[in-house]
Each structure stands twice: as structure tokens, then as C-alpha cells.
């Protein structure tokens, strides 16, 4: 079983790639409001990349309602094998 910190480390390169920001350091409270360039378009690309990386499938309402990186980590922890 992975820890939230481990998930956060794994998510960092995915976020850096989608947001085209090599210096980005993720924290659980980061959200679309606090990260420049995280809009609906990037959000979808992030979801696709995360689902592919972990081989999981989020629920639709989950995808629409992620409020921050921490929410994503919790959902991944729940779904990832």
C-alpha cells in the first residue's frame, strides 16, 4: 500500500509535464486556483495521464469535483492496487 507522500512524488512529473513547468513542487493543498495554467483543458489531460499511469478509472462526479491535489491523492489511494 502506497502512502500519500509517495503518490504526491509520483504525481509531480505528471503535473510538470501537463503544466509544462519543470520547477513545480506539488503539495496537497494546491488547486487550480493556485497553480497557473491548471484549467479545464489541462485538468482533463491530467486525469487521462493519472488514470493511465495507475491503471485506474475515477468516477465522473469525482473528476468534476476534485478540489485540490490532496483530493486526487485520496482518490488514487482508494483506487490504486
Amino acid at each position: 500500500m502506497k502512502s500519500a507522500a509517495q503518490i504526491l512524488t509520483e504525481l509531480t512529473p505528471i503535473f510538470r509535464d501537463a503544466l509544462d513547468d519543470k520547477q513545480l513542487v506539488l503539495s496537497p493543498d494546491m488547486s487550480a486556483r493556485s497553480i497557473e495554467g491548471w484549467d479545464s483543458f489541462t485538468h482533463t489531460q491530467l486525469i487521462l495521464a493519472i488514470e493511465e499511469h495507475y491503471r485506474i478509472h475515477f468516477r465522473l462526479k469525482e473528476v468534476m469535483n476534485f478540489k485540490n491535489v490532496g483530493d486526487m491523492c485520496s482518490a488514487i489511494l482508494r483506487l490504486a492496487p
Binding site: 484549467d39 479545464s40 485538468h43 482533463t44 486525469i47 487521462l48 493511465e52 473528476v63 469535483n65
Partner: protein
């Protein structure tokens, strides 16, 4: 009552003084009353539609929150969209049916309704739709006060042509007491001044050449047509950006913050970058409420989900502008372009490593700019055939123009001759284009800190002459032509 009308220029300061000096508890009601009266100046029909959409939105917001049900959401969406669809697209659908029937028999002459569109309906319908969806997905709480909700929908600075605000951003501002704040009021005035300048001095001046050439493009050569298409790009941008700045500035004076709608869109280096900078409030609405659900629903199809989401988003965006095939094609063309942008993101990233950064940036900018210019011809033309003819004539007309210039060794006289027939005095064209260069350069240098904020901290002897210069330019150089209606008002 338009922003650039004398009525607004008189009514706005009077209302502001009364509003900012009123007791805090009465301010939201006063603002609502002022907004409804302003809406009524466009005719009672506009007011009735506004009230109707507000009531539907308020009712369904409460109802969906009390018992989240997909049926209620769909009922709200249908009821909210029905007036817009009926008023905006009925004749278009009848036309399309008639055209289809013409292939089989004599076309049926069906009645046309020629509904006039209530002011701002395309904007506030989407504002309310976004609110209802947000309540459904628990992104926001339903508004408890009908008066506050009505103000969110009807707030005059954003009523006619946006920005398309979110309830979560706007509503918390309603009950905050508004008092005279020198820094805020002067900042708002500077934004209004900038908007009026862009609209009256640049956009309206350019509208003369654009309207003249588009009325009869066959009479002009390649250079004149290309120059006109550039003029139209900037007319559209300065007209709508000017409008948005007056909206944001007026709201700021009154103590409210609205979204900035533009961020130097013609500096974009890709189509996705362009749409992050152009009509930001509406584009983000479409991405939030069309792209996100469509692509999320189809996401097992991976990249295809994103493509479908993008095409759906831009098709709806094109249709939103009006019931015309040119708008539908405009949306599709941008949808295809942004899809290509998405699909080629990785190869472009690799390519970027191989060539010098300034060269890559210039190349990316030039391609994006040229694409947007061509797509805007589609946006401005009356039909797809007219767009084709315009672009064909502009491109094929370039070679003879170039030959002519070469024969005359690129002399100033030969360049003047190429644009001699343009329906605008040369000085007006030079003034408009020169002003655009100055404003765009100021925008480039003011990326980190806007020019108006730099001006605000200058000593009095710099600040006030600058204000007089802008005010004088608006009064003396403001176009006196009749074509002063804001372009986005008709959508």
C-alpha cells in the same frame, strides 16, 4: 443605455455618488434597482426575459440543492436554453429545412419570425446555466436571497456583453459595504478611459475601412484585402476589449471586481494559448461546462475523448455567436486547429529543443497570428462562399502586388498606390494602426505590471497631462461615425 452613450456618461457618475453614500444595507437593493432600470432602457421585452431567466435559475438552484436529481438539472437546462434557442435559432432552422427541401422540390416559403434578441440574453443565460450546474455538482451553494441572485444575474456592468461571471466569485461581493475608496475609484476610471479610447479612437475608426471593403471585396487587391483583414482582427479585439474594460472599470468604481476578459490575445504562440487569452470568461465557461463533461464521459477513448470534447466545445462556441453557417464553421475550424495543437504537443516540444528559442517563438507566433486572421475573415463574412472568395482574392492578389512593388523599387508612392482605394482617409488609418502599435507595445512592456498601475504612481505633472491626453483623444479623435454599436452586443 450603452457604455459609450451620453446617457451612461451622465447617469453613471450620478448613480455612483448616490450608491457609494447610501447606507450599506440598502446598497444591494439600490444596485439591483439601477441595473433593472438600465436594462429597461433597452425595452421592456429585455427586462421581462431577464426576470424570467432569473426566476427559473433561482427556483432550480434551490430545488436542485434540496434534492439533487439529474432530471431537475436537465429540466433547468432545457427551460433556460429554450428562450435562447427559440429567439436565436428558429429562423436558421427553418432556413436549413427549406434549403434541404429545395433539393427535392420547390422550396417551401415558410414564415420567418425575425425575433429581436433581448439585450444580453446569450450572456446571462450562460451565467445562470453555470450556476445551476455548479449547484448540482455541489461546487457552490444555492443562493438564499432572490434579490441577491437577481443582482448576480442583472448587475448592469456585465449584463449586456459579460464578462460571464461565476456565482461563487460574484455573490460574496454583494453584501460587502461599498464606500468611496480613492485608489479604487481612480483605478476604475483609468480602466474605463482605456476602454473608451480603444473603442472610440481605434475600433470605430477601423470599422470604416472594414465595413467598406467587406461590402465589396472584389474592388480591392491582395494587399488591401490583407490589410483589411488585419484591421478587422484589431477592430474586433479593441471593440470587445474596450467594452470589457469599461465593464470591469465601472464595476471597480462601484466596488465590485469582475474577471478580465483579455490578455494580449494576439501575442499567443499557439491556438490553445490564444483561447486562454481571448474572451477568457466565456472560453473558460465553455471549457468548464462543455469540454470537461464531454471529455470526462468519453475518457476511456483516451485522446479521442479530448478531441471530441474540443470539437463539441468549439461547435457550441461557434453556434453561441449566432445562427449562421459562418459561425458554425468558425467554431469547427478553431476546434480542428486546437485538436491539432493538442495532438502535436509532444513533437513540438521535441522540435523546440532543436532550434533557437527566439526563432521557435517567432515561428509559433506567426503561424498562430496568420491562422487567427484567416479564421476572422470567416467570422466577419456573410457566407462561406464570400469567405472563400475573399481569401482567394487576398492570396492570389499578392503576387501581382509584389510585382508592382518590385517594378517601382518598393517606393513609398507605390505602397500608397496599393492601398489608395481603401475607404478611409490615410491619416485615420495611420492614426489607428500607430495607436495599436503603441498600445500593444505598452501591453508587452506591462506584462508584469499594467501600464495604468505604473501611471498611477507617477508624480502629478506626469499623471494629469496623460489623463488630459487620453480624454482629449477620446473627445477629438473619437470616431464620429454611426457604426458605434459594440460588436458583441448582437451575440
Amino acid at each position: 443605455m450603452l457604455f459609450d452613450s451620453l446617457t451612461f456618461l451622465i447617469a453613471f457618475p450620478v448613480f455612483t455618488v448616490v450608491f457609494l453614500n447610501a447606507p450599506a444595507w440598502i446598497q444591494p437593493r439600490l444596485m439591483l434597482l439601477g441595473s433593472l432600470v438600465a436594462c429597461a432602457t433597452f425595452g421592456w421585452v429585455s427586462l421581462v426575459w431577464l426576470i424570467l431567466v432569473t426566476l427559473i435559475g433561482f427556483h432550480f438552484g434551490r430545488s436542485i440543492e434540496s434534492a439533487a436529481s439529474t432530471q431537475r438539472l436537465w429540466a433547468a437546462i432545457l427551460l433556460l436554453l429554450a428562450p435562447l434557442l427559440l429567439l436565436k435559432y428558429t429562423d436558421f432552422v427553418i432556413d436549413a429545412i427549406d434549403s434541404a427541401l429545395a433539393y427535392f422540390a420547390t422550396p417551401l416559403i415558410r414564415p420567418r419570425f425575425n425575433f429581436s434578441l433581448p439585450v444580453g440574453i446569450s450572456f446571462y443565460t450562460f451565467v445562470v446555466l453555470g450556476y445551476v450546474i455548479d449547484v448540482h455538482v455541489s461546487r457552490t451553494r444555492a443562493e438564499r436571497s432572490i434579490a441577491n441572485f437577481a443582482l448576480f444575474t442583472a448587475f448592469y456592468p456585465k449584463l449586456v456583453a459579460g464578462p460571464v461571471e461565476r456565482q461563487a466569485d460574484f455573490s460574496p461581493q454583494i453584501d460587502t459595504p461599498k464606500r468611496f475608496d480613492y485608489a479604487r475609484v481612480t483605478d476604475g476610471m483609468r480602466i474605463i478611459g482605456s476602454g473608451l479610447f480603444k473603442k472610440l479612437v481605434v475600433a470605430d475608426r477601423l470599422s470604416v475601412v472594414v465595413n467598406g471593403v467587406y461590402a465589396n471585396p472584389d474592388a480591392y487587391g491582395g494587399t488591401a484585402l490583407i490589410l483589411t483583414s488585419l484591421c478587422y482582427m484589431f477592430q474586433l479585439y479593441y471593440d470587445f476589449c474596450g467594452y470589457s474594460e469599461i465593464a470591469v472599470g465601472s464595476a471597480k468604481v462601484l466596488g465590485y471586481d469582475l474577471i478580465w476578459n483579455f490578455n494580449r490575445p494576439y501575442a499567443a504562440r499557439s491556438i490553445s494559448d490564444y483561447w486562454r487569452r481571448w474572451h477568457i470568461s466565456l472560453t473558460s465557461w465553455f471549457f468548464e461546462y462543455v469540454f470537461a463533461p464531454v471529455s470526462a464521459l468519453l475518457r476511456r477513448r483516451r485522446r479521442m475523448a479530448v478531441i471530441c470534447g474540443l470539437l463539441a466545445t468549439f461547435l457550441v462556441s461557434g453556434l453561441w455567436h449566432g445562427a449562421r453557417w459562418t459561425f458554425i464553421c468558425y467554431g469547427l475550424v478553431h476546434g480542428i486547429a486546437i485538436s491539432i495543437d493538442y495532438l502535436t504537443a509532444r513533437p513540438r516540444k521535441r522540435f523546440r529543443r532543436w532550434i533557437p528559442a527566439p526563432l521557435y517563438a517567432s515561428l509559433a507566433w506567426a503561424i498562430t497570428f496568420a491562422f487567427v486572421a484567416c479564421a476572422d475573415v470567416l467570422f466577419r463574412s456573410d457566407s462561406i462562399m464570400a469567405t472563400r472568395a475573399y481569401l482567394y482574392r487576398a492570396i492570389t492578389g499578392l503576387a501581382p502586388d509584389l510585382r508592382f512593388l518590385t517594378q517601382h523599387h518598393f517606393s513609398a508612392a507605390s505602397m500608397k498606390a496599393l492601398i489608395a482605394g481603401l475607404p478611409i482617409p490615410k491619416m485615420d488609418l495611420v492614426l489607428a494602426l500607430g495607436t495599436i502599435v503603441v498600445i500593444e507595445l505598452a501591453g508587452y512592456w506591462g506584462r508584469e505590471r499594467p501600464f495604468r498601475q505604473i501611471l498611477a504612481i507617477q508624480p502629478l505633472w506626469i499623471r494629469w497631462p496623460a489623463y488630459y491626453l487620453v480624454a482629449g483623444a477620446i473627445v477629438y479623435l473619437g470616431s464620429q461615425n454611426a457604426a458605434t454599436m459594440f460588436i458583441y452586443m448582437k451575440y
